[in-house]
């Protein structure tokens, strides 16, 4: 399926090709990809389409194991779209498709024989708005292990472990049977992280996890993320550059450029580097403009 799509876009026309070339030049010098010692996930020539609209173009980057990688950029630059294509959540959108490859444990997650359900189990996701299930705190955490058929020796221990890792255990240990809707926004988001941890994924994708939270709750989530890198690889989309600077080992800056043939704006990766480099010594003028607040 994916290869078919590649062929199709290649066949389309010469003008299309020139547009792709433009995009490629733009994204040519983005990456010390080789510097990442053990990549947990690797994107090669990733394009994401919604119908005929190309939302993200030609992304090549890797996410280091046990590192936090931040995706930053102005609204509409495709960073959330890219994030959702990393665990095949985009499959759920009618008309969405991905070309190129996303390699996870040596396998392209878009290969036809790969089961999207299994991909999502191994690569978890935390959403922008805390989305606890209308169940008890305990059942929220136990839901994942139950549906994927994990047979832990003791579910109570598993729930406690996940809530402890998510730095929520002490606050909720006396009210596990109460509804999750009774928690504050920050607690709900940590519950969603606990829920994700409970199925023991390799990678956790976070789509602006703090945008609905106050600064104190944000700080707690950020501390938690740093703590979680011991066991997990984290990819976070954020609108908050300070947040990227505080937590991320590496940062990728995306922007939206008009496609030369269609004029539609498509997201491209401009620069990908160590966070310190991006924020102190950006190579691309657009990155510099964005992080210094001149644009976006």
């Amino acid at each position: 399926m994916a290869t078919n799509n590649v062929k199709k876009s290649d066949q389309k026309s010469g003008t299309k090709k020139s547009a792709e070339t433009t995009v490629r030049i733009v994204t040519a010098d983005h990456g010390p990809v080789s510097e990442i010692v053990i990549p947990a996930l690797e994107c090669q020539d990733v394009d994401v389409f919604y119908g005929s609209f190309r939302a993200v173009s030609d992304v090549n980057m890797a996410f280091g194991k046990n590192e936090i990688t931040a995706l930053i950029g102005p609204s509409g630059c495709g960073k959330s779209t890219l994030l959702r294509s990393l665990n095949r959540m985009n499959d759920l959108v009618d008309g969405a498709r991905v070309t190129g490859s996303v390699t996870f444990h040596g396998e392209n997650i878009y290969a036809p024989e790969v089961d999207a359900i299994e991909v999502r189990r191994r690569i978890g996701m935390v959403f922008q708005k805390p989305n606890p299930f209308p169940k008890s705190i305990y059942d929220n955490v136990a839901y994942g292990p139950r549906v994927i058929g994990m047979k832990p020796d003791n579910m109570d221990d598993l729930v406690e472990e996940a809530l402890t890792q998510a730095a929520l255990w002490d606050e909720v240990k006396d009210k596990l049977k109460q509804t999750a809707f009774g928690l504050s926004g920050g607690q709900q988001q940590r519950l969603c992280i606990a829920r994700t941890i409970a199925v023991k994924p390799d990678i956790i994708l976070m789509d602006e996890p703090c945008s609905a939270l106050d600064p104190i709750a944000t700080k707690r989530i950020e501390d938690l993320m740093l703590e979680l890198t011991k066991d997990y690889t984290i990819v976070i989309v954020t609108h908050n550059m300070q947040q990227a600077a505080r937590v991320a080992d590496r940062t990728a800056f995306f922007t939206a450029l008009p496609d030369e043939t269609t004029g539609n704006r498509t997201g491209v990766l401009v620069e990908f580097d160590r966070t310190s480099e991006i924020f102190t010594n950006p190579k691309d003028v657009r990155t510099e403009d964005y992080i210094s607040g001149r644009f976006g």
């Binding site: 959540m89 759920l92 999502r120 989305n131 209308p134 994942g144 549906v147």
Partner: protein, 297 residues
């Protein structure tokens, strides 16, 4: 003085108080509409009660229809109504809920065929009940069924009548469950079916139950499609199976109203009270379910 008048005017605004003649006229019109509807309902209930209360006794529930009004009762009609409506529920609920789930959760909305079905379901909900009676009559004739005045045939006509309504309420209840809940479940590695049965559907059940009960109470009050199918108007036996002859409360009321004797008109009014009571009970159950179990997001 100024501060007081200011606070008064502020309160007026908070309550929506715009004093221009046009808005006052509109407000009056709204009140009148509510009043009209209420008076209409009250008149109906009170006059029915006055007419029928005299015969609302045990005979109503235990006796069969009779040519002697003082011996007549609506027992077979009550049993027939309950039976037909139960079979209708058995037909409609699985089919309607499954169709609603498919259209809302699984069908590709960009496909023209699915969009055509969607539009037609909406239209079917507005088709007059007599048309469904005729449709069932035609279908049964084509199948070679001679006796069409049987419970299962009546239930089929009523199922066709309320199926679109059940499909629509199922879809709307599912749509009220936030997308984030589905995404949260799928992102944990749950399959779409697990997500449906463990998250989406349980959250939608109160809405589906409420809507389905209201649809069934509409079917309970229908006479036209059953009359077309030749439902009996004078039944002196209890319906005893899917292929048994039957009558229902609206048909019984229709029959007694058409008799010349005044006593039968009283009986018709009394039967109407029973039907109204049944409808009220069903609607109360629906409202109770909605208030008790509805999920607020």
């Amino acid at each position: 003085m100024t501060s007081l008048s200011q606070s008064n005017s502020l309160r007026g605004r908070v309550r929506g108080g715009d004093n221009s003649p046009l808005s006052m006229a509109f407000l009056f019109l709204l009140w009148f509409s509510v009043f009209f509807a209420f008076v209409f309902l009250l008149t109906l209930i009170v006059t029915t009660w006055i007419d029928g209360a005299a015969r609302l006794d045990l005979r109503m529930f235990t006796e069969f229809p009779s040519s002697a009004p003082e011996d007549a009762g609506a027992r077979p009609a009550i049993l027939g109504s309950l039976m037909v409506i139960s079979v209708t529920a058995l037909f409609t609920l699985p089919l309607g809920i499954a169709a609603g789930i498919h259209l809302e959760e699984f069908a590709n909305r960009r496909n023209w065929f699915n969009r055509a079905i969607e539009l037609n379901v909406q239209n079917l909900a507005a088709v007059p009940s007599i048309v469904y009676g005729l449709l069932t009559l035609g279908a049964l004739t084509a199948m070679g069924v001679r006796d069409k005045n049987i419970v299962i045939a009546g239930a089929m006509a009523l199922s066709l009548l309320i199926l679109p309504v059940v499909i629509i309420v199922t879809r709307e209840s599912l749509r009220a469950v936030p997308l984030e809940i589905r995404e949260g479940s799928l992102a944990l590695g749950a399959t779409p079916l697990q997500t449906l049965f463990r998250q989406t559907l349980p959250s939608a059940v109160p809405g589906i139950a409420t809507g389905s009960i209201l649809a069934l109470s509409r079917a309970l009050g229908e006479a036209a499609p059953l009359l077309i199918l030749g439902a009996l108007v004078f039944v002196s036996f209890d319906p005893n199976g899917l292929f048994s002859g039957y009558t229902t409360l609206p048909i019984q009321i229709f029959n007694w109203t058409g008799r010349p004797q005044e006593e039968f008109h009283v009986l018709a009014a009394a039967t109407s009270i029973v039907l109204l009571g049944l409808l009220l009970a069903m609607n109360s159950i629906a409202i109770t379910i909605r208030n008790r179990f509805q999920q607020r997001w």
